[in-house]
């Protein structure tokens, strides 16, 4: 089954272990400046958010590349830049709506997440579970479970008589955690 990188900003502490792991795997040095996953710090809000390529199925970067340097890795679903083909024209960096493909001065090419061939270093390095490597089809399950957990529960009763179910119990409006 294909896996995806699941990002949970609420768990991120901004330590940048993922950026070091990513840059080390790709460039041989601990160098956040060359990382393909980025952590953003929102100081005033007191929050952190890891961010990287979502590996779109119909990838904008791939379709826009004039020299077909970006191809699909069929095992992982990753959109991979072939450095030998890339001419550094940067069209993909414009096409990507999320900004996750970037030109690198040091190589003269573009760089993006390639899922490390199916064993992403960032997820392995993350100490808090803010970045995890999970089956693509069930990536949302944990979040579903968390919301489901907040749904009202039936109160234990001492009678065996069937209770009348109230329709409101299942009204989506009171299933949230306001």
């Amino acid at each position: 089954m294909q896996h995806v990188l699941k990002l949970e900003p609420a768990l991120c502490t901004g330590c940048l272990q993922c950026e070091m792991a990513c840059s080390y795997e790709n460039t041989g040095a601990f160098n956040p400046a060359r990382s393909r996953v980025k952590v953003f710090t929102f100081h005033e809000e007191g929050s952190f958010a890891p961010y990287t390529c979502t590996q779109c199925d119909e990838a904008w970067c791939m379709h826009s590349c004039p020299v077909e340097a970006i191809t699909v890795d069929l095992d992982t679903g990753a959109k991979v830049v072939d450095e030998d083909v890339c001419v550094g024209c940067k069209v993909c960096t414009i096409a990507c709506p999320f900004g996750t493909v970037n030109y690198e001065e040091a190589s003269g090419k573009v760089a993006k997440c390639d899922l490390c061939g199916g064993d992403p270093w960032c997820a392995k390095a993350c100490p808090t579970g803010a970045i995890t490597w999970v089956p693509a089809d069930t990536a949302g399950l944990e979040r579903m479970r968390a919301w489901a957990y907040q749904a009202p529960r039936p109160q234990p009763t001492h009678t065996k008589a069937p209770r009348e179910k109230s329709v409101e119990t299942f009204h989506p409006g009171n299933a949230g955690g306001q």
Binding site: Q17, M20, N31, A33, H43, P127
Partner: protein
């Protein structure tokens, strides 16, 4: 290797910058950061010089593990001669600037001389420039940070700078990096401002790549991270409550110095504790604490990010303080809270914000306010001195106002900026200053934790908890429990902790790892990164070498064994309550034995034998 192998030397008098190779012979004996920078300072300046004069130097130093995947590998130290103590100063900070300096390809930056006009250093990999900072002078740390980001249009720029308190000559001003991380103690920021240096702005894109044995390094650091995650303190206590996990613990032990150290327990401790920071406030239903945060590469993440209640009197009409910023550490909560008798968590957070915003040490500041409060109580300081500000113990208004005055360097804030020792001397009651070598005490009462008394008295930078944290053993039982009320075995314990801390402070790692790591866990990481046979024994010997080098610097600066003492209050006035009731600190029982173990003369000088044994 792991060292960048390069030093940037910045001569501020001449406005010249030159790169030079790192002295690898010294690196093999002193590793990096605290140790190596102290060696450079020791060799390059006259220890007796004027700390605020151009002949003093200021060194920003990284360690070999700074900027690597080793957990907590993001520390850097600012080393100079202290204007507060006259002794060697070494202030350690986390955040991100240390790693950035290393990523730019430098182990250290040495600042010499002084600039006639305000300047800041812009460092982008191999490009280094001194640029005019007239427009930044007079601005706070926060405004300087924002302005530099705006000027350079680079959101990734990392910045360390001094605030208005340093410019005004406050003797315990720090160097603040990344808005709320501080090389906070001993007035290293005061030295930076005296040199006309407002800020250091760094962008590093080279990375740290020359690891000696990468595979072994990744395995060793992985192993280290696992130990941290599985440990109760580093895996749960610190991430949940930060250093504030200690507030209630130390208070119950009767080792919580209160109201200028007159008492050893604070009745309001629970209101300003780590637990209290988690409690939703009655006013706005939000807790003081928003989240925990990590410094570069840290898998512990003990940092606090807090938000003040927007309706609180301190910030009611000041939207500037309504957002999140660095929250209370235990030391700050103690100094701003217990020591002044203030139990208003929001007021403490506000004072702490100001300490970050204008760059002054909350420990020294809080302790100085506490001394001023006692002087006010006994009439030595009057309303005439304070422009009508009533310095009463427990007054949140007084504390907040004092913080504003020190931040701006105005009015009575000038007196407070002198630090507790000079303030008490000025008002004729030097015995009320709770300091060693002129530096204010941190948050552990040496009557209830005997070993800490010796650690304070002999610390090379004046009273300090990080120079030999025997609390680990005496309170938490790490690595093994010792009785906090006995002096037996403490000289040996203090020496062991002092040497180990000197070693950790020279590696690029954070001292907090030692709640879980022994030197045996650290050695493989350093060895794999640096190569050249770094085992535990060699590292601890190096720690001892560093300790003795610092001591020797201080001896040459004119400090003697007579300075290894504690205020009379702690030696003579017994604790009135708690487990240590009836006890003072028995320093006299420990000090001679400590000198003996150190291989020093009876008057506390490093002996020739010791000097040779450690190759000083």
């Amino acid at each position: 290797m792991a060292w960048a192998g390069k030093i940037l030397r910045v001569n501020l008098t001449a406005g010249e910058i030159s790169p030079e190779p790192l002295n690898m012979d010294w690196a093999r004996d002193y590793l990096g950061q605290r140790g190596l920078a102290s060696k450079y300072l020791y060799e390059e300046i006259d220890p007796a010089c004027d700390a605020l004069g151009p002949e003093n130097k200021l060194i920003m130093a990284t360690g070999p593990l700074t900027g690597t995947m080793a957990s907590t590998g993001g520390r850097y130290s600012v080393v100079t001669k202290s204007p507060l103590t006259g002794a060697i100063a070494c202030s350690n900070s986390g955040g991100f600037i240390g790693a950035e300096i290393k990523m730019a390809g430098w182990d250290m930056i040495i600042f010499e001389g002084a600039s006639a006009t305000p300047v800041y250093l812009y460092l982008e990999d191999d490009r280094a420039e001194l640029r005019p900072a007239e427009t930044l002078w007079g601005k706070s740390v926060w405004d300087t940070d924002a302005e530099l980001h705006r000027m350079h249009q680079d959101p990734e720029l990392r910045i360390a700078c001094v605030g208005r308190s340093a410019e005004a000559g406050c003797l315990y001003a720090g160097v603040i990096n990344d808005l709320h991380r501080a090389a906070g103690r001993s007035g290293v920021g005061t030295v930076m401002a005296a040199k006309g240096l407002k800020a250091v702005a760094v962008r590093g894109t080279r990375g740290v790549g020359n690891i000696h044995d990468p595979m072994r390094f990744l395995q060793a650091t992985e192993q280290g991270k696992k130990i941290l995650a599985d440990n109760e303190v580093t895996g749960q206590g610190l991430p949940t409550y930060g250093t504030q996990v200690l507030m209630n613990v130390i208070n119950e032990m009767g080792a919580m110095p209160t109201r200028n150290m007159r008492e050893v327990q604070f009745e309001g401790a629970h209101k300003i504790s780590g637990e209290a920071m988690h409690e939703p406030r009655p006013t706005d239903q939000r807790p003081n604490l928003t989240t925990n945060a990590a410094c570069f590469g840290c898998t512990i993440a003990c940092g606090r990010i807090s938000r003040i209640d927007n309706g609180h009197f301190t910030v009611e009409h000041k939207p500037k303080y309504w957002g999140n910023s660095g929250g209370l550490e235990y030391e700050a909560a103690w100094a701003l809270g217990s020591d002044t008798g203030v139990d208003d968590l929001e007021a403490l957070t506000y004072a702490n914000f100001l300490c970050n915003e204008d760059g002054f040490d909350p420990i020294s500041f809080g302790a100085t306010v506490a001394a001023a409060m006692e002087l006010y109580e006994n009439g030595a300081i009057t309303d005439a001195h304070t422009d009508g500000l009533q310095l009463r113990f427990g007054s949140a208004e007084a504390l907040s106002r004092c913080a504003e005055l020190v931040a701006a360097g105005e009015g009575f804030g000038k007196d407070l900026g002198l630090g507790s020792k000079r303030l008490c001397e000025k008002y004729g009651q030097p015995e009320l200053s709770m300091t060693v070598k002129g530096q204010e005490f941190p948050a552990y009462d040496p009557r209830g934790i005997q070993g800490m008394g010796l650690a304070y008295a002999t610390s090379n930078r004046g009273a300090c908890h990080l120079r030999g944290y025997t609390v680990s053993s005496e309170v938490l039982g790490i690595p093994e429990k010792t009785d906090p009320l006995t002096t037996e075995g403490k000289p040996k314990l203090v020496k062991a902790f002092q040497d180990a801390a000197a070693m950790v402070d020279s590696s690029g790692l954070c001292l907090f790892t030692t709640f879980a790591w022994t030197p045996d866990d650290i050695a493989p990481q350093i060895d794999a990164a640096c190569g050249g046979g770094w085992d535990t024994e060699r590292l601890l010997e190096m720690g001892e070498r560093i300790w003795n080098l610092e001591r020797d610097f201080n001896n040459r600066a004119g400090l003697t064994g007579a300075d290894d003492t504690l205020p009379k209050r702690l030696l003579k006035e017994a604790a009135k309550v708690g487990p240590a009731k009836g006890r003072a600190n028995d320093l006299g029982e420990m000090l001679p034995r400590y000198y003996e173990i150190r291989g020093w003369t009876p008057d506390g000088q490093v002996s020739e034998t010791t000097r040779q044994r450690l190759r000083l």
